[in-house]
């Protein structure tokens, strides 16, 4: 199998970060340290002020800042090929690096969809030229994402497919999902599932509840998601396969995952920053940036997702970064495409709305921001000597307004636009090289 993650390799960093508060729950670091990166590797972790920059190394003053293991997002839409007016591998990975990410996994619902080896190969070639941070790809479960015939999963895996997904659509047929899970025994790779019953969702454009009743907009009921999750957990249990539930939005889904986990099913789940922090109340404004699938649901659903992320029923935070061009979103709500961007705001939104009020502990959030890696069989970033440097430096006290300086993403359909957040990424080192540096953030010595 080819290495699954690819990017345009940059110069390997020689960098000394002094006196930053290093926080890595996995290695137990939670105190100010100096961290020396040499040739893209973490060479030394020392007492604050204890290390000196070797010849030619940059030095960065991390006093009052936090150095975290960089984040991994198992669920983004980079829109290449075919929809480069929304995003491409360069702008999408730039947005990711600006959000503190060192790796992202791109979904295959592009144009054409990624359902064959030649398309995956050309995408990987493009990533080797354009991606600023490592990108992995998940091709389709079914040909043409039509839900009928399996893709050539064995060949795709050989080429570096991380797993498979028809994200954007459910695998409607229980039999097709069963066949994919049988095939998984041979080829491996998690099946990431967008769970929705198309008949129950109908023409729905938002959560079915009090707000949809008021607006007269057709609703997407919670049972559209939860019934499919319950079904697929039973199929995965029967076939002893591994399924990963994308963007969980409803409390009933949380319950279905918890029940399946209790039975020993290999099921994992992700929570998006928007489902963790927003509800359908905001949709009263009919702001199309708040239109996504699955939709924002009730406060009760939001609380269930927070609790599930805390207790591990949901394993990781994933953005479902879904860029759309301005004119595509500047239409009446019911006509607008589903999706919000999220890479640049993920940490800050969760930090501001959940960590600062004391709802979630910072170490837990830091852990969940990269725990998607293990689900996909990727290395988890750790701050540890001898490891490739995948770190992000943040100023947790810095306040900023989303969108005021524009976005690194090509699109601006961010559900948090205009919000004042705390926690700003100053610098991201991905795969050993500096992938992002905030414009105003100065190097002490070069």
């Amino acid at each position: 199998m080819n290495p699954p993650m690819i990017h345009r390799e940059g110069p390997q960093a020689d960098l000394l970060i002094t006196r930053a508060h290093v926080l890595d729950p996995r290695t137990g670091l939670d105190a100010p340290h100096d961290v020396l990166i040499r040739g893209g590797e973490i060479a030394e972790i020392g007492e604050p002020g204890g290390l000196t920059a070797p010849e030619g190394a940059e030095q960065v003053d991390g006093t009052g800042k936090h150095l975290l293991p960089a984040f991994v997002d198992p669920h983004v839409h980079l829109r290449t090929p075919g929809q480069e007016h929304k995003e491409d591998l360069d702008t999408g990975t730039r947005a990711a690096a600006a959000g503190g990410y060192c790796a992202v996994v791109a979904m295959p619902n592009t144009s054409p969809v990624v359902d064959s080896a030649p398309i995956l190969r050309s995408l990987r070639d493009a990533a080797a030229r354009e991606a600023r941070i490592p990108v992995g790809f998940m091709p389709c479960i079914t040909q043409g994402m039509q839900g009928e015939h399996l893709t050539e999963m064995a060949e795709l895996r050989e080429l570096g497919a991380l797993g498979f997904t028809d994200d954007g659509k459910p695998v409607r047929s229980a039999q097709v999902l069963r066949l994919a899970l049988q095939y998984q025994k041979m080829v491996g790779g998690v099946l990431a599932l967008h769970e929705e019953d198309p008949a129950l969702s109908g023409s729905g454009a938002m959560h079915e509840g009090t707000v949809s009743a008021l607006l007269g907009i057709a609703g997407i009921p919670s049972i559209s998601e939860s019934t499919m999750v319950a079904r697929d957990a039973l199929i995965a249990e029967y076939e002893e396969g591994h399924i990963h539930i994308q963007h969980v939005s409803a409390k009933e889904t949380v319950q279905a995952i918890a029940d399946a986990k209790a039975r020993g099913v290999r099921i994992t789940g992700e929570a998006s920053p928007h489902h963790l922090t927003l509800t359908h109340d905001g949709v009263k404004s009919l702001d199309t940036r708040l239109k996504m699938n699955p939709p924002l649901r009730t406060e009760e659903d939001r609380q269930a997702i927070i609790a599930a992320l805390r207790d591990g029923t949901l394993d990781c935070i994933a953005t479902d970064h879904a860029p759309h061009a301005r004119d595509e979103k500047e239409v009446p709500f019911e006509q607008a495409p589903m999706g919000t961007t999220g890479l640049e705001t993920a940490f800050a939104s969760v930090y501001t709305d959940l960590v600062l009020p004391g709802t979630l502990a910072l170490p837990l959030v830091v852990e969940r921001m990269s725990s998607g890696a293990a689900i996909l069989g990727l290395d988890t970033p750790k701050i540890e000597t001898g490891r490739r440097a995948d770190v992000t430096l943040l100023d947790l006290s810095a306040e900023w307004t989303v969108g005021e300086d524009g976005y690194e993403s090509r699109s601006e359909n961010c559900c948090f636009a205009g919000r004042a957040f705390k926690g700003r990424v100053l610098m991201t080192v991905a795969a050993g090289s500096v992938a992002y540096r905030q414009r105003a953030f100065a190097v002490v010595e070069a």
């Binding site: 079915e208 009743a213 007269g216 907009i217 009919l286 004119d327 239409v331 019911e334």
Partner: protein, 313 residues
């Protein structure tokens, strides 16, 4: 000033002001020359993305009776069919410098977007299944005419509430005027959580006798195909407002067009209790009042009323 929704733009005071203004326009319809110069030189643009003969012509007549110039723009046979977005259409039409835009579309919230993009006064003539505020106003006007006031009235709205913008606007507006609202219909056509709007929900007509006003909604054939209902026959059996269910003291309303034999039986449509024709008549004077209010009456209602007495004189 705009009229985009009952929820955001109307309170009891504004509704009463519009009803008062409409009453003063009533006599224009009985003149040999049905016109006053109140909006002379003003341009009203009717922007309709859904086929609608009644509402559009009602707005058109209202504007013309106030001497405004009217341009009708309908989505079929226009640039819209060539793929132009709502925003581009609005920007293009704004270049014609209308003073007011009356807009109907199949999408909730679109009149608000038109208001943002055009920068002129906008009247919502129906946005998806969301709201239809002038219908609510003309229904209130009709009830004022018939019963004097809505205070304390018991109003039942019967039928396909799920797909009805008329229902949503009326549930809100009738309550603003002091009425108690009950919606009744098959559970498949009553939106989940509709009681959040303050109304009561019934799945049968057993208590219909307690209503002072029965407001029947139009049942569309598509609902059978979709299939919210097993058949129109079954719907009629359970929910048709007919001579057996309607008592003589009750007022019967319907937004039109009526499906005789489905939501209403023929005999009740033709009965003296039905005020369906009055609703249509009220539509014109209420829309005159709304157009006049948003174009001339902003700021000082008293000043406007004075000006208007002069104009009518």
């Amino acid at each position: 000033m705009n009229l985009l929704s009952v929820e955001h733009d109307l309170d009891r005071a504004r509704i009463e002001r519009i009803v008062e203004l409409a009453r003063s326009f009533e006599e224009v319809a009985h003149r040999p020359i049905k016109k006053v110069p109140a909006l002379r030189g003003r341009t009203v643009l009717n922007l309709f993305y859904e086929s609608s003969t009644r509402t559009r012509s009602s707005f058109e007549l209202a504007a013309k009776r106030l001497s405004a110039d009217v341009v009708n723009f309908s989505a079929s046979g226009s640039s819209v069919e060539k793929g132009e977005s709502l925003k581009d259409t609005v920007l293009t039409l704004s270049a014609h410098k209308p003073d007011a835009v009356v807009v109907r579309t199949p999408w909730a919230g679109s009149s608000e977007l038109v208001a943002q993009w055009s920068g002129v006064a906008v009247v919502n003539a129906g946005d998806g299944k969301h709201e239809h505020p002038t219908q609510a106003l003309l229904d209130i006007y009709t009830l004022h005419k018939k019963l004097g006031s809505l205070e304390g009235l018991n109003i039942w709205i019967v039928g396909d509430v799920l797909h009805s913008r008329v229902a949503r606007s009326n549930i809100l507006a009738f309550q603003l005027m002091g009425a108690k609202v009950t919606v009744a219909g098959p559970p498949t056509l009553i939106p989940r959580n509709i009681e959040a709007l303050g109304c009561e929900v019934r799945y049968d007509l057993d208590g219909l006798k307690e209503a002072d006003v029965v407001y029947a909604l139009r049942m569309q054939n598509e609902r059978i195909e979709q299939p919210y209902l097993p058949s129109l026959r079954e719907y009629a059996k359970q929910f048709q407002v007919n001579g057996r269910r309607l008592s003589p003291r009750q007022v019967l309303m319907h937004p039109g067009p009526v499906n005789r034999g489905v939501e209403l039986s023929g005999e009740v449509v033709d009965s003296p209790q039905a005020v369906i024709a009055t609703q249509v008549e009220s539509g014109i004077v209420v829309r005159m009042a709304v157009l006049y209010e948003i174009l001339e009456g902003a700021g000082s209602p008293r000043g406007a009323a004075q000006r208007e007495r002069q104009l009518l004189a």
